[in-house]
Assembly symmetry: C2
Amino acid sequence: MITCNAVINYCSACGSPVTHRIPEGDSLARAVCDTCGTIHYVNPKIVVGCLPVFGDRILMCKRAIEPRYGLWTLPAGFMEINESAAEGAAREALEEANANVEIEDLYTVYSIPHISQVYMMFRARLLDPDVSPGVESLEVKLVTEEEIPWDQLAFAMVKRTLNHFLEDRRTGIFVPRFGDIHPPQR
Amino acid sequence: MITCNAVINYCSACGSPVTHRIPEGDSLARAVCDTCGTIHYVNPKIVVGCLPVFGDRILMCKRAIEPRYGLWTLPAGFMEINESAAEGAAREALEEANANVEIEDLYTVYSIPHISQVYMMFRARLLDPDVSPGVESLEVKLVTEEEIPWDQLAFAMVKRTLNHFLEDRRTGIFVPRFGDIHPPQR
């Protein structure tokens, strides 16, 4: 799934050129259409996903798309309209790994301000170990803790979510985590 | 803050009329521009807010805007680009009630599929009881449990969040909740 952050030059409702200015009563500049009056708000996007578990193994997917082609991730993707976060997380597991999951608790929530995304990752029970790559995956597999490809993970949120899960699994008490992810210092 | 769900008739990048169809490799219909190639995704919006506490009292705001003009809410509004969920929650408290808060844990997360919104509500510490209505509030006040206007609450998420908070406050253990909110049966 690809995001779109195209610059707004024209009104998507009426096709007229827009002006970028702060609307009355607002505090941020928006794309405003002076022809039809529409204000075009741009807001962060939600990425929903899950950590599907089968016995002592975790389902992971090798990405067949950019960004991070060829690196490993947990099934996740942009939440669609008219679905719940949990429904979206289950849908992504099905799309990326042909995996049937039962979504459990919301587990990690990360804001990533520099790309205007919020990740919402659920714990999930994989109902059937018969999984296979969807069109966005090169390969899917069920890994034990020792088999996690730590040096080939696609995203910081994957590393953090896996680490929290493995830590909590030792105690049997799964504590939701939330936080922010910022770009690495260079 | 007003949301915008205008129908997409024109490409916001180049101004050409768009076609609504399923792009290659996708599974849902999108507004696609055949002139410049832009795909216009529409995704759920995030509403961030908080439950600011000062001693045994909770900060509530009487809405000066639609929807639910004149009803009571917790400070909350649409998350903006390039901010974290916690930053957005603090910003909304400042905008709606001139309230300085310290954001604590993420406390309730509700998907509302029929309006494509996800609410993320944090517990917060109100740092100074000197609050006053912002432009989107008619009135703000610090209420005890007995003073909560239960029959004049603006949104289901406010009622649920308050109920969970009051329940957890009795034990001193605050447990994050997540779930879905569907339209009331009529």
